[in-house]
């Protein structure tokens, strides 16, 4: 007699990367935060530390 089929796939744990890639709003957060911090904020902090010419 055949084994009963496996439990419904809904119980399977969805891999982290797939959950990340299937979440457009998390990707939006990452995609805006990464350049905002690494390019803009870091750059603005450096430029704002330049002493004003007298």
């Amino acid at each position: 007699m055949a084994e009963p089929t496996a439990a419904p796939t809904a119980r399977e744990r969805v891999p982290f990367m797939q959950r990340l890639l299937d979440n457009p709003f998390l990707l939006l957060f990452l995609g805006v935060t990464s350049p905002a911090v690494l390019y803009l904020l870091w750059g603005v902090m450096e430029l704002s530390q330049i002493p004003i010419a007298r």
């Binding site: 990367m17 990707l27 995609g31 805006v32 990464s34 690494l38 803009l40 750059g43 704002s48």
Partner: protein
């Protein structure tokens, strides 16, 4: 609350009207279709206007012709940059976003009325900025660096355009939510839609950077703010200026996958790998903006090196992955179509007579070899110094935006005309040669501008002979040759561009209507098979890595890349002798 949301969704779904696509079987929301048409038409109109301005720029840079006066040159250069780098591209991308969401996901479009508000804002903004430029008091070029000041309407037009585009992006995200909620697709979104999502995410950062810098600059032009710091402006402006071109990269890569799927039935080699490459774009591609700041003394080497030579290379890795997986997917599909002999039968017998396929493949090759390699060279702090602010920079971005994005957008138009406008492409023989003409012309423009830039020709100067300068300076004679060739190839690209506009407009106005009988034939020559719907609109990989032809092609690419990269280091050693 949940009930009222559900009721609102149901009302929205009932209000939507659909037609069935005879090729894909997808349900097409008519409201989305109308918005796609409007945005695509506006895009083509601005391409036509901006293309004429581009020809005038090239004919002025050609020393033997030197067509325009200096005042007119800077006016025309500003209008050219605005119309083709921003208006043509973003209007078309909004059409792509609506197509990749509502059409590919079989869904209704979120808030179509808001889509018309977005379209109106973009159109009014685009026209306002054009009028401001043509009035002659806003010849500040596309970069509009302060303290050069344009008229307030120049900045206001850009702000209105950006707000409209941002609304378009929100509608795209809203449509993703609706499609998931109403279960119009199964599993993950298709790869083409994921690529469009990447473009949309980069657009959010781009438009936010634009708002951060353009709103105060507008107030400055009105006299409400006394001073805008020049370097701060440049830093934030490039967050918009360069990132807007990264929207293009994501959008045109998505279009490569789309065209490959429709014309030869290609499925991604690996959904995971291609999506991982798009994730690289989402995280790192915008950081390439930093290459415009590499000679600014106020920024540290740590900032410059991290943003270009480390983070940017992760985005380049993403591009190289797409550069392998797109031709690889085509090879896998063609082998499945029966072209299994030798390493390249799949390529020889590809549908080269189909302008969509030909345009896509030329865009892929030229973007990789010209735009990609030159982009890495410009992004390397040491060798950037040889080409910074020379004509090499416009040469590079003509390779990415013209041979890459514009050619890909032209190619997909040959599918959009029958699928969305439901018209057979007019003048099919001319349509077959159009991508080749445009690719050769635009490729030549890119190459010869990069050549002139390597010889030191300034990026923005009207007259390379410096005829009215107090101190004389002579560029090498080869630089004059380069700019002459640039002019000739610009004429060729203009012929290709004009053909595209004529074919598109004629098709829309007078093209034969597509019916269920001729719908597949209207997409152009294709291998005899085709499950277009499965290839484009469903998740799934090709399931093979037996790709000898692709491995040879990417080996050629890598050898070219390495050789050119080290040739530039050799140039640097000659420019900057050590010892």
């Amino acid at each position: 609350m949940a009930t009222s949301a559900a009721q609102a969704g149901m009302i929205g779904a009932l209000a939507a009207r659909f037609r069935s696509c005879p090729v894909t079987g997808l349900q097409i929301d008519l409201a989305a279709e109308r918005l796609i048409k409007a945005n695509a038409i506006a895009a083509v109109v601005f391409l036509a206007i901006g293309g004429v301005f581009g020809l005038l720029v090239a004919l002025t840079r050609w020393p033997a012709v030197h067509l325009l006066s200096s005042d007119m040159f800077y006016l025309v250069l500003t209008a050219h940059g605005l119309d083709v780098l921003l208006l043509w591209i973003i209007f078309f991308e909004i059409a792509v976003l609506y197509f990749a969401s509502a059409i590919l996901l079989n869904s209704r479009l979120a808030a179509p009325r808001l889509g018309w508000v977005a379209f109106a804002l973009m159109l009014i903004g685009g026209l306002l900025t054009n009028v401001a430029v043509l009035q002659g008091d806003s010849s500040v070029m596309f970069t509009s660096y302060v303290p050069m000041q344009a008229s307030p309407n120049f900045y206001l037009g850009l702000i209105l355009f950006a707000v409209g585009a941002l609304i378009g992006c929100c509608i795209f995200l809203g449509t993703l939510v609706i499609a998931k909620d109403e279960q119009t697709y199964e599993g993950s979104i298709p790869l083409v839609t994921f690529g469009a999502l990447t473009a949309c995410i980069i657009a959010f950062f781009t438009l936010a950077s634009g708002a951060v810098i353009l709103i105060p600059t507008w107030l400055w032009s009105l006299g409400y703010i006394s001073h805008i710091d020049t370097v701060m402006y440049k830093l934030v402006w490039w967050g918009m200026g360069h990132s807007s071109q990264q929207i293009n990269v994501s959008a045109h890569v998505a279009i490569w996958y789309l065209i490959a799927a429709v014309t030869v039935g290609a499925k991604p080699l690996s959904e995971k790998v291609s999506r991982g490459a798009f994730l690289m774009y989402i995280l790192f591609l915008q950081l390439a903006s930093a290459h415009h700041m590499l000679v600014e003394p106020g920024l540290s080497s740590e900032w410059k090196v991290f943003n270009t030579s480390y983070a940017m290379y992760l985005a380049v890795l993403g591009s190289m992955i797409h550069g392998m997986t797109v031709p690889g997917a085509i090879e896998a599909a063609q082998r499945k179509n029966g072209y299994v002999n030798g390493a390249f039968e799949w390529l020889r017998k590809a549908p080269w007579n189909n302008p969509a396929f030909a345009g896509m493949f030329l865009s892929l090759v030229l973007f990789g070899f010209l735009g990609g390699i030159s982009g890495v060279v410009l992004g390397t702090e040491q060798i950037n110094i040889m080409m910074h602010n020379t004509l090499y920079v416009p040469g590079h971005f003509h390779a990415t935006v013209v041979t890459g994005t514009t050619l890909a957008f032209m190619a997909v138009t040959y599918l959009v005309l029958p699928l969305i406008f439901q018209r057979e492409v007019a003048f099919p023989k001319l349509a077959r040669i159009q991508p080749y003409l445009f690719a050769i012309g635009a490729g030549g423009i890119s190459l010869f501008m990069m050549g002139a830039g390597t010889l030191g020709v300034s990026r923005r100067h009207w007259d390379i002979t410096f005829s009215d300068a107090t101190l004389a300076f002579d560029y090498p004679a080869a630089a004059f040759l380069m700019l002459g060739l640039n002019g000739l190839f610009a004429i060729l690209a203009t012929v290709g561009g004009a053909l595209y506009v004529i074919i598109a407009v004629w098709t829309i106005l007078f093209g034969r209507r597509v019916t269920a009988e001729n719908a597949l034939a209207a997409l152009g020559p294709m291998p005899p098979r085709l499950q277009v719907h499965t290839a484009v609109a469903e998740y799934g990989s090709a399931g093979t890595w037996h790709l000898p032809g692709t491995y040879i092609l990417i080996s050629v690419f890598f050898v070219s890349f390495v050789l050119y990269y080290f040739v530039n280091w050799k140039y640097l050693s000659e420019l900057w002798p050590m010892g």
